[in-house]
């Protein structure tokens, strides 16, 4: 199909153009859209992109770390402000993919992709659409299909009091890396040896990254040891909806979810 490409200097113009067309898709790093083009996707005939520098900024704004939607995984790894997210970005693809794949694009990556978004979910991130108010990532993901017409400008992450409270693991079948069997991101703040307001999110255990709400509840006020996490492990598969795909079956993902959760919580990995 003949394709046309429209490039805008301002992200707001790009967002308006996207909203005004039913047959346009927005191009971030290209790893999703160009793949669709290569596979002859007939659902769009226009590619919209922007060169707006706002999408390439990483900045601390008050209590928020703001990451431009056009920041690539390699840029996350290289930037000091986002160093705590480097272990997550490193698990996304090989070097070439990481030089292309963006934070904004990952928000739209279908399961089993989207590990970076799972981390953002655990970090209680908000997303900033062009010409709109910030919305919680959770709200955005719950209506992701409807939100496909949005152009994302940036992601806001509340400042972590203790970056060591953030943990992440991605489980793959091949080394050093591969597509996720599952991933877990967790923020585990401790107060006097007890967990307070832990946030846990899963990648590849549902149609989109999901919070493990039952696990979070079961961890409240507990200590991070075998006895303290027992109840959380008992409810580890509650609320998950794993896909069966060429990487793993629904059954297998349910079997291993508590195993990897336990290792992550007890720090038995890495």
């Amino acid at each position: 199909m003949p394709m046309s490409v429209k490039t805008f200097a301002q992200v707001d113009e790009a967002a308006r153009a996207l909203a005004a067309s039913r047959s346009a898709r927005y191009l971030g790093g290209g790893t999703l859209i160009m793949r669709a083009v290569n596979y002859g996707d007939q659902s769009f005939d226009t590619i919209i992109r922007t060169t707006d520098p706002r999408l390439k900024q990483i900045a601390q704004q008050g209590e928020m770390l703001v990451i431009g939607a056009g920041i690539t995984m390699s840029e996350i790894i290289a930037n000091r402000e986002t160093a705590f997210l480097a272990p997550v970005a490193r698990t996304v693809g090989g070097q070439a993919i990481r030089n292309m794949a963006t934070v904004g694009g990952n928000l739209f990556a279908a399961s089993p992709y989207g590990d970076f978004t799972a981390a953002l979910l655990a970090l209680d991130a908000r997303i900033v659409p062009a010409g709109g108010q910030p919305i919680s990532l959770e709200e955005f993901l719950n209506a992701r299909e409807r939100n496909a017409g949005l152009v994302i400008v940036s992601v806001q992450i509340p400042r972590l009091r203790d970056v060591n409270a953030f943990r992440y693991v991605k489980v793959s079948r091949v080394k050093p890396k591969g597509i996720a069997v599952m991933s877990i991101a967790a923020v585990l703040p401790m107060q006097a040896g007890r967990l307070a307001n832990a946030r846990i999110a899963h990648g590849a255990l549902g149609p989109r990254p999901l919070r493990a709400l039952a696990v979070e509840r079961a961890l409240e006020g507990r200590s991070l040891d075998e006895a303290g996490i027992a109840q959380a492990l008992a409810v580890a598969t509650e609320g998950i909806d794993p896909p069966s795909d060429p990487i793993a079956s629904d059954w297998y993902r349910r079997q291993i979810a508590p195993v990897h959760l336990k290792r992550l919580l007890l720090g038995q990995r890495r």
Binding site: P2, T7, G30, V37, I47, A96
Partner: protein, 160 residues
């Protein structure tokens, strides 16, 4: 069909061509310019055989919108040798039997070149990481890793 003019540097020499809108860099290189060294493998970012360097950094040319390299520097395997003198990586790949069917080789070479340009004496682990986005379906990874390490040991000069 609308065509767009694109100008970029390919292996150090200027290129100016007309490309169909929406075409990817790999198509422009192979069909537009006639550089057949980068290969089309999966078309979905999984195999890495289309890897080229854009401003020295590896990219998947099949997923790169061609017009985004306007004014940029692109390197492919075709630019590795200087006349009859092969690049250290090319010598090392031959000496270590690092090519079996050869389909992944151009991508492996470019991923390895990006690594050695940045890090002239990588560890084995760093080599594995650098080629982790490139699939060798013959599964001949060990000779490839050994070749990259051998090229590094040769100091990037003529190998052997």
């Amino acid at each position: 069909m609308a065509k767009k003019p694109i100008q970029f540097q390919l292996n150090g020499s200027g290129q100016a061509i007309f490309a169909e809108e929406g075409s990817n860099l790999l198509d422009v290189l192979r069909r537009g310019v006639g550089d057949l060294s980068p290969k089309y493998g999966c078309g979905q970012g999984t195999c890495g055989t289309c890897t080229v360097l854009v401003n020295g950094e590896p990219r998947l040319s099949c997923l790169t919108l061609a017009e985004t390299v306007e004014g940029q520097s692109v390197e492919t395997t075709a630019g590795l040798a200087h006349g009859p003198q092969l690049h250290a990586l090319q010598h090392a790949f031959m000496d270590n039997f690092a090519a079996q069917c050869g389909y992944c080789t151009p991508g492996m070479l470019m991923a390895a070149k990006a690594l050695l340009d940045r890090n002239p004496s990588p560890s084995r682990e760093e080599v594995v990481e650098a080629i982790s986005g490139n699939i060798c379906r013959c599964t001949g990874y060990e000779p490839i890793i050994n070749a990259v390490l051998a090229a590094a040991q040769s100091g990037g000069r003529r190998y052997g």
